[in-house]
């Protein structure tokens, strides 16, 4: 599959991490595409939850927002927002939180709040939304984002959502019982935390990607696992299902007034 785009490879590699038995809290954007691709391919029984209160949703097109009507139409049940956060998330019912990030450091700490100083920001971003508690209440956290030096940084400007803090046992030290970030899928590679330091380390390179490509688009000195693998190339089925999903989504969102 030489014509696979990097963002398609990212979505497909991310989707593979999900299983039918997972209960997954879905972030909007890249995570939403990966989660729905998983549901439409190898994980048909996965429970997808959006923070608008839709539990067990199965949309035919990707939602533009976390509260599109189709999420509710296809959900097993739709609960209120306080119930969502209190019973289902805080109650420990969610196995995976799938998040994106504007800025991320090597320990998986995420910033979606500000670029620059909080009280005098250069760019005011949307903020945390559900993420600060998703990051600590879900069993584990998967992250997906495109690589760039602006995105993968030595130090995030603001810790919106706690990952592994300064690394090592930082989560345990704060009394957090969940695993935190265990996987990051970018457009170039699959990353996993080092078992000891918790630093995100490259586990596999996507087909055709070099170590140099990864380093050039990352703001910290990249480490690679000794047994560096190559990500399995997308199958014809994965590509077809993803492209069909994107095409349906494009039509649904652009021709609404026709």
């Amino acid at each position: 599959m030489s014509d696979v785009r990097p963002d398609e490879m990212m979505t497909i590699a991310a989707s593979r991490a999900l299983r039918s038995e997972d209960v997954c809290f879905v972030g909007i954007g890249a995570p939403s595409a990966a989660c729905n691709l998983a549901r439409l391919t190898h994980a048909p029984d996965i429970t997808l939850i959006y923070e608008s209160g839709t539990i067990g949703t199965a949309p035919d097109v990707l939602p533009l927002s976390i509260g599109d009507g189709e999420l509710c139409d296809t959900a097993v049940t739709t609960v209120s927002v306080p119930e969502m956060f209190r019973y289902w998330l805080q109650g420990g019912r969610v196995t995976i939180g799938f998040l994106g990030a504007a800025q991320l450091d090597k320990f998986g700490n995420i910033n979606t709040t500000v670029i620059g100083d909080y009280h005098n920001p250069k760019i005011r971003l949307p903020g945390g939304g559900g993420a600060p508690e998703i990051a600590t209440s879900c069993g584990e956290i998967f992250i997906t984002m495109k690589q760039s030096k602006r995105g993968l940084v030595q130090k995030v400007d603001f810790v919106t959502s706690f990952g592994h803090g300064v690394g090592g046992s930082a989560r345990e030290n704060l009394g957090i019982k969940t695993k935190g970030p265990t996987l990051m899928v970018t457009d170039l590679a699959v990353w996993k935390p080092d078992p000891e330091t918790k630093e995100f380390t490259v586990h596999s390179l996507h087909p055709g990607v070099t170590r140099k490509n990864v380093q050039e688009t990352c703001g910290w000195p990249v480490k690679f696992f000794d047994q560096l693998a190559t990500t399995v190339a997308p199958t014809a089925q994965e590509i077809t299902v993803l492209r069909d999903l994107q095409a349906r989504t494009h039509v649904a969102h652009s021709n609404a007034t026709d």
Binding site: G69, T78, S80, G128, G130, A135, L174, I176
Partner: protein, 285 residues
């Protein structure tokens, strides 16, 4: 008992300068018509609260009505940032905007505590999150039974909450369906509650016994405004106008373009214009 009245009267009687006000909706059922009426009436010095301030808060902030914003996510859902909010926070245009920022979990708990008549909400939250360091209203309490440290925030108790709903019956009971968000809590937490509805029906005899219904005596005023959530949507009535959310990013990017749009579409418009705006989005029935 809820009073049926035109939206202009409901807003004039229930929203005052300096109020602590919520215009709630979670992507779905956002009360755009009520907010536009508030803009036309020129209310000032408002403290606005909402979990997900989106383009209608961008509009109110850009029009200089707001001195403080309490929120947990400020974005144009699925599109990006809010240009007018950014201009206010980053450049103080048209006025400085004080912000109090929380997470969704905190805000949801705070509204629920407000509805429950509690002074504060307690939950597992903000662990390791830097918001707790920049927002002095994020505190903690120790559980008297287990010794656990828990996050604590003040409850949200607005002077007035505005929501949009599918329908009211002739008695003034209100039915909310689909993604119900935080609206029930926003109404019950507030001193006064104004509801715009798509239609007024004779009765709710065919409504499921567990449906989300706000009894007439829990609501202050009801105004019938078909299409009143546009460009948001009303489940069962019309779909979300996603193209308008995308278009807003361009409109709001420039101060003069923004002001011209507000003149044409809000200041020179009326609640009656909303029905026309949703006619191409009507759900097939």
């Amino acid at each position: 008992m809820a009073k049926f009245q035109p939206l202009c009267d409901a807003v004039a009687e229930n929203l005052h300068d300096g109020d602590f006000a919520a215009f709630e909706g979670f992507t779905h059922l956002i009360p755009h018509a009520a907010a536009h009426e508030a803009i036309r009436q020129g209310r000032r010095e408002l403290t606005l609260v909402r979990m997900t301030p989106d383009i209608v808060y961008d509009q109110m902030i850009g029009m200089g009505m707001v001195k403080k914003l309490v929120f947990s996510y400020i974005g144009n859902p699925g599109v990006g940032l809010l240009r007018r909010v950014r201009d206010a926070i980053e450049n103080g245009w048209p006025n400085n905007l004080e912000i109090e920022e929380h997470s969704h979990a905190a805000m949801a708990n705070a509204y629920e505590a407000g509805a429950a008549g509690l002074p504060m909400a307690v939950f597992h939250g903000y662990v390791g999150a830097e918001l707790a360091e920049v927002n002095p209203n994020i505190k903690s309490v120790t559980c008297p039974f287990t010794g656990e440290k828990l996050a604590a925030v003040r409850s949200v108790r607005p002077d007035v909450s505005f929501i949009h709903a599918q329908k009211a019956n002739k008695k003034g009971d209100v039915l909310i369906e689909g993604i119900i968000g935080i609206q029930k809590e926003a109404v019950l937490a507030a001193e006064r509650a104004v509801v715009t509805v798509e239609e007024i029906v004779d009765n709710f005899d065919d409504v499921h016994s567990n449906a989300c219904v706000l009894p007439s005596w829990a609501v202050t005023a009801i105004s019938e405004v078909p299409g009143g959530a546009h460009p948001s949507y009303t489940h069962g009535y019309y779909d979300r106008d996603n193209a308008s959310y995308v278009a807003w990013d361009v409109i709001a990017a420039d101060r003069d373009r923004f002001k011209a749009w507000m003149q044409d579409n809000v200041l020179d418009a009326s609640p009656d214009n909303f029905a026309e705006r949703v006619k191409n989005f009507r759900s097939a029935t």
